[in-house]
């Protein structure tokens, strides 16, 4: 992804950037499971509105973003996650 890009103004001249992008958390830690039942891991990837957080923000790699998306959609089907926050009761 964006790793190879020229760092924006203010970045170090080398490839090393400080802070900012953490990279794909699932690639870094393979104990994390992406499953529709693992709500704890999925929560991070939905916005307050219930939308799926895009890859440019979540920092996931393509493969894991795809899995996260599929898992969120499964979880939505079975009412574990909301489709939208617009229909909240109480």
């Amino acid at each position: 992804m964006a790793y190879e890009k020229k760092p924006a103004a203010g970045g170090a001249p080398q490839r090393r950037r400080f802070g900012r992008r953490k990279g794909c958390r699932f690639c870094g830690d393979n104990t994390l499971k992406i499953e529709y039942k693992e709500l704890r891991n999925l929560r991070y990837f939905i916005s307050e509105r219930g939308k799926i957080v895009p890859r440019r923000i979540s920092g996931n790699c393509a493969e894991h973003q795809r899995k996260v998306t599929a898992a969120i959609k499964l979880a939505r089907n079975i009412a574990l996650l909301p489709f939208t926050s617009g229909h909240s009761f109480d």
Binding site: T31, K37, R40, R43, R76, I78, A79, P82, D90
Partner: protein, 119 residues
Amino acid sequence: MMRTYETIFIVEPSLVGEEYTAIIDKFKGVLTDQGANILKIDEWGTRKLAYMVKKQNRGTYVLAAYEAPPQAIKEFERRMRIDEAIIKFQTVHLEKGLEPVAEVKDVAAAADDQDSDED
């Protein structure tokens, strides 16, 4: 041919105690009648739904994993559709089979399980 599936279904939250266990047993029975081999039944207990389903905002989640021939799913789902105690269900085919899980799947909140498994 047997495949491993996982069905998660939501039981009407107003059913408790005996009625509830009767429903679980009934569907266990349906599965075994269809030639399925039940691997595990996980009862998550009653939790809040993310949105209204059949005018309910809570539901009792039950997760069943089993090995069954593909035709069994059809019948199983048909039965669940008929039964009014089941408000929603979803079946997923587990391509890698059932992973042995060491973690505790328990009731309530979204932040429940302690990830203590190694893979």
